[in-house]
Each structure stands twice: as structure tokens, then as C-alpha cells.
């Protein structure tokens, strides 16, 4: 009885308080302040600032692309004319036609695509195996090997040019850490012939920035539920089969992201290719000097920087165009994939 009474009393008190509660009347100044700080005006103002900010940054990013694209469509008269700055007087595709033939672009494209796609696939496969091993199996040295992955990112390859070239040129699995005389006793393998060295680096997840791929994929696999795997093990699947049939299908966006990164970085790589496969006829190594070499050897004009830049810009556009197209198709995977990896926590 007492309890109900208590409740009643408190209710009454509550009701009294509500009755006493008066909505404060606002002065004009307060109204104005509220209006300005309210969602509409402040939100609108922020919207404008944001748009300007983003447009500015987007401009800085697109500017070099745009200017190269525009320059590549100029005629040689336009490039010399100081009054022509951004808009060419007429669209001229002769530069492209000339460079397409001179630089043998179809061959370069074919070589570049085939090599970078297959190397990117190799890198993706090796990285996902290593990442899965690090994420899902507990063994001694697991953390150490993961640290080593980050360590490979830190090793600046520039400083290793001589020693890397020497080791790959005279590759000998028995004498990897010795010098001199011993090397002549056993036959050495020359890895710098063709794509062997770069292929091996890709297959062992030690190519350019592969540590990053291992990191991203490991993060993804660590956060996947364990039940899936356990169910697969109980059904009698081995570790490898579990990996391929259970874990991989759900990892598609992450794999696509890693593949795209690997593809773009491989397509753009000149460092490894000039060191380990200098005879390769690929876009990255051949295209960067095509403009000036065309001007000097076909047009017989030497030292004309303006004309050089005109022909070079057409080459640049042809080099960058495929990756921009691939990027447009693949960029939605970027956010999606890392989003699903649940990297936080």
C-alpha cells in the first residue's frame, strides 16, 4: 500500500513540475543567433566552404592530367603561340598518329598489359597466402614474420642496386651469404634474363610494396569469423581447401583492391624493370623518352623543348589512359574492401 502511495505522490510532484515549466521566450537577438548557428545557415555555409575546398583540391589533382591532355591535342603552331594557353585552336590528332606508329604503341601495350597483369596476379596470390598464414595460424615466430613484412617495406631498394643486381645476376642458392672464390665452384643462375627475377620477387611477396598488401589482407582475415573455418574443418577440408573455398570468396573486394594496387604499381614501375629486365619492351621504360627521340630522329630537330613536350604529352596520355580507365571501374572497391576488413579495433 505504502509503495503505491509513494508512487502516486511522486507522480503528483512530477505533474506539478511540468505545470510550472515555462517555455522561455526568446529575445530577438537570441532568435537571430539560433538561426545563424542552426542547421540551415551553418550547414549551408559549411556546404559552400566544403565545395570550394574540394574543388580546389580536385583542381590540383586533375590539373597535370588535364594540361597534358590539352597539350597533346595542340598542333605545333599552337605550342609556339604564346596567346594559346589552355584551349588549342583546333584539335590535332596527328601527334597521336605519329607516336602510335613511331613508338610501336600496340606492342608496348601488349607487353605491358600481359606482364603487369600476370605479375599482379602473382603478387596477389603470394600475398594472400602469406597474409592468411599470418592471420589464422598460431606458430612460433608468427609475429616476427609479420614484423619482417613491414621491414621489407622499409628497406629502400635504391641503396641496394649494386648488391641486388650482383645477387640476382649470379644467383646461387647455396652461397647467398658468401663472396668471391666460392661462387666460381658451382654454376650460378642468371636471374636477370627475361622476367625471371621480377617473377620470383612477385611470387615470394617481396616485390614493390608487397608488405602493404600482406598487411591489408592479414587485417581482413584476422577479422573474419572463426566459425566458418571450424565448420569447414569438421566437414573434413584441409587448411588449403578451407582457404580457397571458404575464406577467399568473401574476400573478393579486398583481393580486387590489392590486385589493382599491384597492377598500377607494376605498370608504372621502372626501377625493378631497368635493373632486372632491361631489355623488356614495356610502356613504363620505353615511353618516357619517346617524345624527344621522335623529334630528334624523325623530325631532325634537336634541343627543341617545346616540340619535345608536345610529343611527350601524347605519350604520357597514352601511358596513363589505361590506368585511369581501370581506376574508374575499380575505385568503388577501394572503400568497400577496407570497410569490410573492419580495421578498427
Amino acid at each position: 500500500m505504502e509503495k503505491t502511495e509513494n508512487v502516486k505522490r511522486t507522480n503528483e510532484v512530477g505533474a506539478e513540475e511540468v505545470d510550472n515549466f515555462v517555455i522561455p521566450t526568446l529575445t530577438t537577438w537570441q532568435k537571430i543567433k539560433r538561426f545563424i548557428l542552426g542547421k540551415r545557415v551553418l550547414g549551408f555555409g559549411w556546404g559552400i566552404i566544403r565545395t570550394i575546398l574540394l574543388l580546389g583540391i580536385a583542381y590540383l589533382i586533375i590539373y597535370p592530367l588535364l594540361i597534358t591532355l590539352i597539350t597533346s591535342f595542340m598542333s605545333s603552331a599552337d605550342v609556339y603561340d604564346p596567346t594559346v594557353i589552355l584551349i588549342p585552336t583546333s584539335i590535332n590528332i596527328n601527334t597521336y598518329v605519329a607516336m602510335w606508329r613511331y613508338a610501336e604503341i600496340p606492342t608496348l601495350y601488349l607487353n605491358s598489359f600481359v606482364s603487369s597483369i600476370s605479375l599482379a596476379v602473382l603478387q596477389m596470390c603470394s600475398c594472400m597466402l602469406v597474409a592468411y598464414g599470418l592471420a589464422r595460424f598460431k606458430f612460433k615466430g608468427n609475429n616476427f614474420i609479420f614484423l619482417m613484412c613491414i621491414f621489407t617495406l622499409m628497406v629502400p631498394i635504391q641503396m641496394l642496386t649494386t648488391s641486388m643486381y650482383f645477387r640476382y645476376k649470379t644467383f646461387n642458392p647455396l652461397y647467398m651469404f658468401s663472396f668471391g672464390e666460392q661462387l666460381s665452384m658451382v654454376p650460378n643462375i642468371d636471374l636477370t634474363r627475361g622476367w625471371t627475377a621480377i617473377g620470383l620477387l612477385s611470387a615470394t611477396a617481396t616485390m614493390y610494396r608487397n608488405g602493404l598488401f600482406v598487411f591489408l589482407l592479414r587485417q581482413y582475415f584476422v577479422n573474419q569469423p572463426k566459425e566458418l573455418e571450424e565448420a569447414a574443418y569438421i566437414d573434413g577440408a584441409g587448411p588449403f581447401r578451407t582457404f580457397v573455398q571458404v575464406m577467399l570468396p568473401s574476400a573478393t573486394p579486398m583481393l580486387v583492391t590489392v590486385f589493382l594496387f599491384a597492377l598500377v604499381w607494376q605498370y608504372n614501375d621502372i626501377y625493378y624493370i631497368t635493373m632486372l629486365n632491361p631489355t623488356a619492351e614495356v610502356m613504363a621504360t620505353r615511353i618516357s623518352s619517346m617524345g624527344s627521340s621522335f623529334v630528334s630522329s624523325v623530325l631532325h630537330i634537336s634541343g627543341d623543348q617545346v616540340l619535345n613536350s608536345l610529343y611527350q604529352s601524347a605519350c604520357t596520355v597514352m601511358h596513363v589512359a589505361p590506368i585511369v580507365v581501370i581506376y574508374c571501374f575499380g575505385q568503388k572497391f577501394f572503400v568497400q574492401s577496407i570497410e569490410r576488413s573492419g580495421m578498427v579495433g
Binding site: L60, T68, M159, Q305, Q312
Partner: protein
């Protein structure tokens, strides 16, 4: 028929064995393709070596022992090492925090809902592809065209910072030009970090913000009390990434110098001096990255 029981390993042993099997490719690569050249560089830094073959390096023979001579050389007589090291470190001190903050702000902006978000996202992640390798230098108009000789309006336009600097002129123009130059570097370096931050922001459940809004928290409080702790693991990841990008990237002054000297061959600095410089620089970067990540990982908040 009896099964050969002795061949059957325990479950844990089998698990760890298959773990090693998965990691095996990387182990092979690490030993044969990374550690071996690294060790070679270390040994060569203590010795003067000779190339046995003129046509190519068929064998590298360490000759006289120098001990730490090359290291002392680099630190004392050859001023270039210290100069370039200080240059890279001062650039790191400015660029790493700026890139980190910029990418964090960009991720926050791109996480908001507004008209044209898809377009801006696509454009802002563009540096991920256009700042890579040869495409970057081609777009900057560096390859094939000697920037010192660029005189026409058309090729001047290739260099936005330069044209701004020229059009304003004076010390102020110089300042603005440099700022723009650095801004482009920051934007290019912020591609991947922004992506990682954005992904982190999207994993924060909206219900947390909802309940804090009910409790009367302001946007400012939300940012410092929810977004910031939740994103702190990303800050660690991105700091390490930006540090590596900055200290070990192709544009780093120290590495550019070393690479340049290596290209010169016999006419440049002696090989063992270069190797010594490379190793010292490598140790410096390793210490910096290790120390920074150790400090930040203490501050990281883990939800679970």
C-alpha cells in the same frame, strides 16, 4: 591392418606446420631476395670491392678491409651525407604530420553526405594511381623534358607552382609557390592514408553517435570522445605508412642522392662509402619508425 600411428602429428603441430607452409613463399623471398642483398651491402660497406667482369658484374670480390672507415668518412669528411640526412629529416618533420592531418580531414569531409560525393571521392583517390612511379614524373613534366630549359607558356603551365611563383613574384610569390608545391606533394601522399581513414570512419557504428546525441553531446565532443579514439588504430597505421612513404620513397632527398651517386659509377663516391651511407640511413629510418610506432601504439585505444 594397423595404421602407422607414429606418423600422425598432433593437431596443434599440424596447424602450425600448415601456417609455416602458407608463409613459406615469403620466407624464401625474405632470405634470398631481401636479406641476402642487404647483407651483401653491409659486407661491402666494410670492404673495398672490385668488379671482376667489365661487361657486367659477374662477381663482387671484397678486397681490403676498411672496418668502420667508410662510416667515419661519411660522418666526418663527406658533408653530403649529413646535409642530405638533415634535409630528409626536416622534410619528414614537416610533411608527415601535415599529410596525416590532411588525410584525416579529407576522410572526415568525404565521409559526410553531400551532393557529388562519389565524384569527389573518385578524384581524391586519384593520386593513388597518378602519383605512382613513372606516371608521376611524366605528369610532372620531368621526363624527356629538361625543366631548366622550359620557356614557352605551354610547358610552363606544366608546373603550376612555378607559374604561380612567376605571376606573383617576389618573396611572397616564392612562399606561395613553395606552399603550392608542398601542397601537391601532400595531396599525392595522402591518397592511401585517406582511404584507410575513411574505411575506419565507416566502421564506427552510427548508434554510438545517436546515443551521444541523446545525451546532449555537441559535435566537438563527439569528435574528440568518439571519432578520435575509434580512429586511433588507423592513426598508427597511417603514421607508419606515411613515414615509410616519406623516408623510403623515391622522392626522398637522401635516397635520391644515393641513387644518383650509384648511377655515376666510378666517377661518383666510392661504392663502399655509398653502402655505408645507405646502411646508416637505413638504421636511422628503422629507429625513427620503430620509436614513433612504439609511442603511438601506447596511445591507441582498442575497443575490444
Amino acid at each position: 591392418m594397423k595404421k602407422p600411428r607414429s606418423y600422425k602429428l598432433g593437431l596443434m603441430t599440424r596447424r602450425s606446420l600448415s601456417g609455416w607452409l602458407f608463409v613459406l613463399p615469403f620466407l624464401i623471398g625474405l632470405i634470398f631476395f631481401v636479406l641476402s642483398p642487404l647483407y651483401t651491402a653491409l659486407v661491402l660497406s666494410f670492404n673495398s670491392q672490385s668488379f671482376n667482369d667489365v661487361t657486367g658484374i659477374t662477381s663482387l670480390v671484397p678486397l681490403g678491409r676498411h672496418g668502420f672507415e667508410a662510416y667515419f668518412n661519411a660522418l666526418q669528411s663527406q658533408g653530403d651525407f649529413i646535409t642530405h640526412l638533415l634535409e630528409s629529416l626536416s622534410e619528414m618533420i614537416i610533411m608527415v604530420p601535415t599529410t596525416l592531418i590532411f588525410s584525416f580531414l579529407m576522410a572526415n569531409v568525404l565521409n559526410q553526405n553531400f551532393f557529388g560525393r562519389t565524384f569527389f571521392r573518385a578524384v581524391l583517390f586519384m593520386p593513388v594511381i597518378t602519383s605512382a612511379g613513372v606516371a608521376a614524373s611524366m605528369l610532372a613534366g620531368e621526363t624527356g623534358v629538361d625543366s631548366g630549359q622550359m620557356s614557352s607558356v605551354g610547358s610552363q603551365a606544366m608546373n603550376l607552382a612555378g607559374s604561380i611563383q612567376d605571376s606573383i613574384g617576389g618573396t611572397f610569390g616564392n612562399f606561395i609557390g613553395t606552399a603550392f608545391d608542398k601542397l601537391t606533394v601532400i595531396i599525392n601522399g595522402a591518397g592511401v592514408p585517406t582511404l584507410i581513414f575513411l574505411a575506419g570512419l565507416q566502421t564506427i557504428s552510427p548508434s554510438i553517435f545517436e546515443s551521444s546525441k541523446v545525451e546532449g553531446a555537441t559535435g566537438w565532443e563527439n569528435f574528440w570522445k568518439i571519432t578520435f579514439p575509434m580512429i586511433s588504430p588507423m592513426i598508427l597505421v597511417n603514421t607508419v605508412y606515411i613515414l615509410i612513404d616519406n623516408l623510403c620513397g623515391m622522392t626522398n632527398p637522401m635516397l635520391a642522392y644515393l641513387f644518383d651517386q650509384q648511377g655515376k659509377g666510378a666517377t661518383g663516391v666510392a661504392q663502399y662509402d655509398l653502402m655505408a651511407m645507405s646502411w646508416m640511413y637505413f638504421l636511422v629510418t628503422a629507429v625513427i619508425i620503430g620509436a614513433v610506432s612504439a609511442v603511438i601504439s601506447k596511445l591507441v585505444y582498442y575497443e575490444n
